[in-house]
């Protein structure tokens, strides 16, 4: 009975993904996520790690982000894990073009630029294994801060480059992820699927992921996944298809 419910839930996740993805394929971007992590288990409950990640966009042609930072997690209960982390994000911010009232003539152009952000997060992950299927729900609060800085901006009205201040700001996001993972007997590949919602006061983005984990001697863990990120209606960012590759070394 429980197995049947789990299968239904997994099917539902895939159906939601399949239903949403094709709606905006024509304008979508594509990119890559490559990450590597070193992780150490201090006790049965406590572990810590350090992760480095690289992302690209513009159909794999443009670097989008490099980030790295430590994290720590603690198993509070057999079914509940708490974690916290910090990431230094080095972003290649997309260009920004604004237009005059006629919608055609340029008003301002701010070329893309590299900027630094600091991100802190704390998470609680509840999980339950039902036979070979593990369902988990992760709630993550993340706070991202960027410092104020001055960058170049071309003002078409004034026909000249001007200094443009990108104001410093902090942003709180609640990320809710529901994941289903299968532990296939006698198979070193464990498929999984998840859906994650990023919310501020409104839904900013939704991520649909299907992937597979592969472990070698419990020390080396690889993951390969496909991620579709659907941007919220108020976002300027395009929807993006991501191919993800990750490696974790556990020691």
């Amino acid at each position: 009975m429980a197995r049947s419910k789990m299968n239904q839930l997994a099917a539902l996740l895939l159906l939601i993904s399949a239903a949403l993805i094709p709606t905006s394929l024509h304008a979508d971007d594509a990119g890559l996520v490559v990450s590597a992590e070193a992780s150490h288990k201090f006790t049965k409950a406590l572990s810590a790690g350090f992760e480095v990640e690289f992302r690209s966009r513009n159909n794999f042609r443009t670097a989008d982000r490099v980030s790295f930072g430590p994290s720590v997690s603690y198993k509070v209960l057999p079914w509940l894990k708490a974690s916290a982390g910090y990431n230094l994000l080095i972003d290649n911010n997309r260009e920004e073009i604004t237009y005059q009232d006629d919608g055609v003539s340029y008003n301002n152009w701010r070329p893309s630029y590299w900027g630094v952000r600091h991100r802190f997060n704390v998470s609680l992950t509840a999980s339950r294994k039902i036979q070979r299927v593990e369902v988990s729900l992760r709630e993550r609060w993340q706070y991202t801060y960027r410092r104020s800085r001055v960058i170049d901006n071309f003002d078409f009205d004034n026909a000249e480059w001007e200094d443009h201040e990108v104001r410093g700001k902090g942003k709180n996001v609640l990320r809710s992820r529901l994941q289903v993972a299968w532990d296939i007997p006698k198979c070193k590949f464990d498929p999984y699927a998840s859906v994650e919602f990023h919310s501020t006061r409104e839904l900013e983005k939704t991520r649909f992921i299907v992937g597979v984990d592969h472990s070698i001697k419990k020390k080396h863990e690889f993951t390969l996944y496909y991620r579709y990120q659907l941007s919220g209606s108020s976002s300027d960012e395009p929807n993006i298809h991501m191919l993800g590759m990750g490696y974790t070394y556990k020691f």
Binding site: L32, V34, A36, A38, V52, F54, S56, R57, N58, F60, R61, T62, A63, D64, V66, R94, E95, I97, Y106, W109, P111, S112, F154, F156, D157, N158, A159, E160, Y247, Y249, F251
Partner: protein, 411 residues
């Protein structure tokens, strides 16, 4: 054990670093819009417009001889000037020569007042004074021949014609004349004095001399009627206060080499309150003042500078107009009604900032027609040509180059 683990961790970090570098090399393409050509269009340099004191070759100035022609009376040659008075300024004194029945000349130091109760008279003015003036009363036409005069009035207009009839300002052949007002005007009840050279009646400039007007208190040259400028004259106006050359009822430029430079906030180089007609000559006007902001009863009123400002219809048949505004929101040409550009050359450049008002090369509140000649307009921080009504460009042009900041039409 620890050493082995550290080695593995280092290997991992190096691998990640290598992978990241490899990905960075692969992903090194910029995804910005290619704006180079577009920005280059926006950053083009405007045509150079500077004051031009060079001689201007002009066709002979042939006076109108048809008495029915409405311009007939604008020609000094069409009147008899048998009654002549000479005023020779010298420091704090002025010497008066000639006596005309019905004409009273009063002097106070180098300040002369001529009361004409007779007919048309000719007044020849020469000499130099740093504290002198000439004021005219009488409802008769007057010919004012400037014959190497250098006159400054620290307390008002240098020349002030209170008469409502035509004042013919004739610049004697080969002479250089200089008029300057003062920073503070001593006002007289019921009398206007709006400029260093002011006339209640129309002013007609002619001759083959040069007139330099330096205005520091009010305008440079102003008529409460109209002004006509004939070929042969050289007029240079510099005003740090109000408008350079202004007429309430219209301006007709038949010729002449005219330079006007204004620096006052909201000041106009040349301003016509009535029909303006350009039939020849060369006008270079540069207005560099910022937008003037006046608050009356709590309501802010703004006025931008303009090299040429016309409240009424502007007709350009021939001649050269070079107009430049460099102050905030300044216009090269600001026409409040229609403009008909049928020939000649018009170059207008607006290079000022747009803090309060939008700077525009040519701004026309009515309609505009372009039917010949060479037309160029440039605005660094706005549209080069702004016509509120209909813009009509006649066919047959050889150049029509419309860019983001400049427009060129040539026939």
């Amino acid at each position: 054990m620890l050493y082995t683990t550290m080695k593995k961790v280092l290997f991992l970090l190096y691998s990640v670093l290598f992978t990241a570098m490899a990905m960075g090399l692969v992903s090194c393409v910029d995804d910005d819009t290619d704006m180079d050509d577009i920005i280059a269009q926006y950053q083009i340099e405007p045509a150079s417009i500077e004051l031009d004191y060079s001689d201007l070759a002009e066709a002979p100035d042939v006076p109108v001889t048809d008495e029915n022609d409405e311009a007939y009376n604008d020609y000094v040659e069409n009147s008899s000037w048998n009654e002549v008075i000479e005023l020779k300024y010298a420091g704090d004194d002025v010497e008066v020569t000639g006596a005309v029945p019905g004409v009273i000349v009063q002097t106070s130091g180098a300040h002369a007042t001529v009361l004409n109760m007779s007919g048309p008279i000719k007044i020849v003015v020469s000499g130099s004074t740093a504290n002198g003036s000439l004021k005219l009363y009488g409802d008769k036409r007057v010919q004012l021949m400037l014959n190497n005069v250098d006159m400054t009035n620290p307390t008002g207009a240098a020349i002030n014609n209170q008469g409502g009839k035509t004042m013919y300002v004739v610049l004697a052949q080969g002479t250089t004349n200089h008029l300057q007002d003062g920073t503070d005007y001593t006002l007289v009840d019921d009398e206007d004095q709006k400029a260093a050279l002011f006339s209640e009646g129309q002013i007609v400039f002619s001759g083959h001399g040069r007139l330099d007007v330096n205005a520091v208190g009010r305008g440079g040259i102003r008529s409460d009627d109209y002004i006509r400028i004939r070929p042969g004259v050289k007029i240079n106006v510099s005003s740090s206060a109000l408008d350079g050359l202004r007429a309430n009822d219209g301006i007709i430029v038949d010729g002449g080499a005219i330079n006007i430079m204004t620096t006052g906030a909201g000041a106009k180089g040349m301003r016509s309150g009535g029909l303006m007609e350009v039939n020849g000559g060369r006008l270079v006007a540069i207005a560099s003042g910022d937008t003037r902001i006046e608050t009356v009863d709590g309501v802010a009123d703004t006025a931008a500078c303009a090299a040429l400002y016309c409240d009424s219809l502007l007709v350009v048949n021939s001649g050269t107009l070079k107009l430049k505004a460099t102050g905030d929101g300044g216009k090269g040409l600001n026409a409040k009604q229609d403009v008909a550009f049928d020939g000649g050359s018009l170059q207008a450049v607006a290079a000022g900032t747009r803090e309060v008002k939008k700077p525009k090369g040519v701004k026309v509140d009515g309609s505009m027609s372009i039917g010949g000649g060479y037309f160029y307009s440039y605005s660094r921080r706005s549209d080069p040509l702004d016509v509120s009504g209909t813009l009509t460009v006649a066919p047959g042009y050889t150049t029509y180059d419309s860019g983001a900041k400049a427009l060129t039409i040539a026939y």
